[in-house]
């Protein structure tokens, strides 16, 4: 498998009045074609900032340093016009807030159609045909009839399906799914995960699946990357990481997972020293020192 995305020494810093906040620190990892990587970590660990950096969507006052190679092309420092060509066609993204992911004043169909007319230059009728096909592909029943419906007429799960359709519509090579199921209930979540997985298998795109749900990560990924406070603290094949986590933080995460215990009394909460409110605020700043602190 060839390398699709290669990230080296990536840091994202935000300048603020109280000094620089490092949201992502010296991160290295890569994603191969057709590979599914789960990015897990607590809120504020830098998952979302990292995925936005890959899209080139880090705005002022954020600064990205290091290297992000997508199909050999450097993303860091690329100008906006060049980045726009990669977005959607090369790298696409599914966002967390499915309920607000579609413009409320346009019909579902017209929003789907738009990506084909604008990005691919298709004619109206051809684009419409594709949009309907896309709706069917993500499991919307009666796609033709629902084409003219508005977002508020769709349930949360259906809206997220449409958002996924938007993201995969142009057949991107890499899909970044940023907690796509957190706004949905568990039964809908299972359907969405199955959908994403089957789409990935069908199109052979690479995927970075951002989540804080270990069960979801386990279900969907080949490889797992654990982030803590802006650092990658553990990386490895999903099964291996689940069976024998090496890093203390990962171990603590696994111990806190309700799927592993019979009674909630056996749950081990994440130790206080791991709890942070945001980047740069952790008691323990980087990987090795976490281990040292626990030992």
């Amino acid at each position: 498998m060839s390398v699709l995305l290669d990230i080296r020494n990536l840091s994202v810093n935000f300048d603020s009045r109280r000094g620089t906040v490092s949201a992502v620190r010296n991160v290295n990892f890569s994603v191969a074609q057709g590979e599914s990587v789960a990015l897990v970590g607590a809120s504020g660990s830098g998952k979302t900032v990292l995925s936005r950096a890959i899209m080139g969507l880090v705005d002022e006052p954020g600064h990205v340093t290091g290297s992000i190679l997508f199909e050999g092309e450097q993303i860091v420092g690329k100008d906006e016009n060049e980045l726009r060509k990669i977005r959607g066609l090369g790298v696409a993204m599914v966002f967390q807030d499915a309920l607000d992911g579609l413009n409320p004043v346009f019909s579902i169909g017209s929003q789907l159609k738009e990506i084909f007319t604008v990005r691919m230059g298709f004619s109206g009728t051809e684009a419409k045909k594709r949009a309907v096909a896309l709706m069917e592909q993500v499991g919307i029943r009666n796609a033709k009839e629902r084409y003219h419906d508005y977002p508020h007429q769709f349930s949360g799960g259906m809206r997220q399906r449409i958002c996924i359709a938007l993201a995969v519509g142009l057949q991107p090579k890499l899909l970044i799914a940023d907690e796509p199921t957190t706004a949905l209930d568990v039964t809908v979540q299972a359907g969405i995960l199955r959908l994403i997985k089957s789409l990935q298998a069908k199109t052979g795109m690479g995927m970075i699946f951002v989540t804080h749900d270990l069960a979801v990560a386990h279900q969907i990924s080949d490889r797992i990357i654990v982030m803590y406070n802006g650092d990658i603290v553990e990386e490895g094949p999903t099964d291996t990481v689940f069976r024998s986590p090496r890093h203390p933080y990962t171990q603590a995460l696994m111990a806190a997972h309700p799927g592993r215990v019979r009674s909630w009394r056996d749950l081990a909460p994440i130790p206080d020293e791991f709890v942070t409110d945001g980047p740069g605020e952790g008691v323990i700043s980087s990987g090795p020192s976490v281990a040292a602190a626990l030992n």
Binding site: M55, L57, E60, L83, R84, K85, I86, R87, G88, L89, A92, M93, F95, Q96, D97, D100, G101, L102, N103, P104, V105, F106, S107, E114, I115, V118, R119, N142, K144, E145, Y147, H148, Y150, P151, H152, Q153, C163, L166, A167, L170
Partner: protein, 309 residues
């Protein structure tokens, strides 16, 4: 089943749905009828009326309204110089509508464009535009009008410019506030992640959400612009005869309010009706264009469906 078949013929369905919503709201129908009538009068009236409107007939001074024997043009009475109120209203319709439409149109378009730019880009662009808006806002519009109209002729064009410029900040602030809120929403992020340009996001994602608000505001401003033009006339720096607008008629008539109420009251009623119609229509448009709200206007056919079950 009927729902499905209805939706297959989507284009005609959408239009007939609009009409259905239109007729479901009698107030809107009345308001639209009145506005269409006023606009038709404004376009064709002055040409038909001709010189008759400004013809002075001292014998007719303060002729009372609702009496047909003096001729139909005196149905609404006559003013202090015997000019028929009805025909003055017809002449005034053109000027008032012209001033209202042009100044509200230009200030809302300019104001909301600047507001969307300001709210979208933020930073120094936002700061500069907002400070300029602050400055314009602090100048009392009457004072600015006094100065401008004193130096330049009190023509319709200058009136439009003065009334337009002083109202720009209102639209700018409204559009900016909503843009700043909308640009944080996920669908804008989605568009960005799909590779949409700033221009595209502003025109295709943000503007459609912001425009209904601005338009509602603009419709309400129609009334205040007509009244502002009237107050300028009242101060003697507005339009000069023979050009008349409704505000001028009210201003002229108010001196005789005790003896001849109709000279001021009829133009006043016309202004109120027009302003009210404008805001009723804007209200209806706002509701209809909001896909989540417009179902309210379709309550009647919905009722039938539940009855048949």
């Amino acid at each position: 089943m009927t729902l499905a078949t209805e939706k297959q013929t989507n284009r005609t369905f959408v239009y007939s749905e609009r009409w259905q919503m239109f007729f479901a709201s009698p107030m809107t129908v009345a308001a639209a009828t009145w506005l269409v009538f006023v606009i038709l009068v404004a376009i064709f009236g002055p040409a038909l009326v001709g010189d008759l409107a400004n013809k002075q007939a001292l014998l007719m001074r303060f002729a009372p309204p609702f009496q047909l024997e003096k001729g139909f043009q005196f149905i609404l009475g006559a003013d202090s110089l015997g000019r028929p109120v009805l025909l003055q209203l017809v002449m005034g319709a053109q000027t008032s509508m012209l001033i209202a439409i042009l100044s509200v149109g230009s200030s809302s378009v300019i104001g909301s464009t600047l507001g969307i730019i300001s709210g979208y880009f933020g930073g120094w662009v936002d700061n500069i535009l907002l400070r300029i808006a602050d400055i314009v806002h602090t100048i009392p519009s009457i004072l600015l009008a006094l100065v401008v109209l004193f130096i330049l002729d009190p023509s319709i064009t200058n009136l439009v410019i003065v009334l337009g410029i002083t109202r720009i900040p209102v639209y700018l602030r409204t559009a900016r506030a909503q843009t700043a809120e909308v640009r944080q929403r996920t669908f804008v992020e989605v568009a960005q992640a799909m590779g949409a340009s700033d221009w595209r996001i502003m025109t295709k994602e943000i503007a459609p959400v912001v425009i209904p608000t601005v338009r509602t505001l603009a419709m309400l401003e129609v009334a205040s612009v007509i009244l502002a033009a009237a107050s300028l006339t009242f101060l003697g720096i507005g339009l000069q005869r023979p050009t008349v607008d409704w505000g001028m008629l009210v201003a002229d008539g108010q001196a005789y309010l005790e003896t001849a109420w109709f000279v001021a009251v009829f133009p006043g009623i016309v202004i109120v009706l027009t302003a009210l119609s404008a805001s009723l229509i804007s209200n209806w448009l706002r509701a209809v264009e909001d896909p989540a709200q417009n179902i309210l206007f379709l309550s009647k056919p919905k009722k039938k469906r539940s009855e048949s079950k």
